[in-house]
């Protein structure tokens, strides 16, 4: 089966510019997650969707980050305006219905953002 797809893989922007990342989860996976992984640290959850509804966005910096999953399938994460500290890898993950209660995730390859 196809894995979690993410694009773009790499993006370089200047501070105060905007950027958007796209994710398509594994077919049938109702739960979708965006994680931020700063160099030298473990992934940190930004937002979790169940179908097209938000389950947890408590760690999403809402003044500059937004995410949506309009049709309950693919998702977009946007940063506007970007700051230097947003340089990180943005990982999308999904989980099938029978794994959601354990937290087992399937990850995409990530989108690496560099803010200059």
């Amino acid at each position: 089966e196809a894995g979690v797809a993410q694009s773009p893989r790499y993006k370089i922007i200047e501070k105060r510019q905007s950027v958007a990342f796209w994710c398509n989860p594994i077919s049938g996976h109702a739960t979708l997650y965006w994680y931020q992984q700063i160099l030298g640290q473990g992934p940190k959850l930004l937002i979790q969707f169940q179908n097209n509804g938000v389950v947890d966005d408590s760690q999403l910096p809402k003044d500059r980050f937004s995410a949506e999953r309009l049709k309950g399938v693919d998702s977009t994460l946007k940063i506007q305006p970007a700051k230097l500290e947003d340089s990180a890898v943005y990982l999308c993950a999904s989980s099938p219905p029978d794994r959601t209660n354990t937290g087992e995730l399937f990850f995409g390859e990530g989108s690496r953002l560099t803010v200059l």
């Binding site: 030298g40 473990g42 992934p43 959850l45 979790q48 169940q50 354990t102 087992e104």
Partner: protein, 114 residues
């Protein structure tokens, strides 16, 4: 809230030597435990998981881990490493129930040299 501590940021080891990567967790309730591996410029791949039952779990690529509830640990081991095992290893915990989320440790870089 749960947390994970990976005690070593980097572990250098020679090829064919055994290795142990340490992980301790903190939680007031029962947990599910995971080890993920991340190769350079790739996403995270599940190595193994503990959900319930036997405390010794075996994963892919010859890795295994043992859940120790009294020590709140879930250390990862491999009896003989290969160069190809060079990667970042992340321990993660979830508390289950509803829409559970994973909390990750900071990672341990395993460096295997010939």
């Amino acid at each position: 809230a749960q947390s994970v501590t990976q005690l070593d940021s980097q572990v250098p080891v020679f090829e064919e030597a055994p290795v142990e990567l340490r992980c301790n967790y903190s939680s007031s309730v029962s947990v599910y435990l995971f080890w993920y591996v991340q190769y350079p410029n790739q996403g995270l791949q599940l190595l193994l998981k503990y959900l319930s039952g036997s405390t010794l779990v075996k994963g892919i690529n010859g890795f295994e881990a043992e859940f120790n509830k009294s020590q709140t640990s879930f250390h990862l081991r491999k009896p003989s490493v290969h160069i190809s095992d060079t990667a970042e290893y992340f321990c993660a915990v979830s508390v289950g129930g509803g829409y559970s989320t994973l909390t990750f440790g900071k990672g341990t870089m395993l460096l295997v040299s010939p």
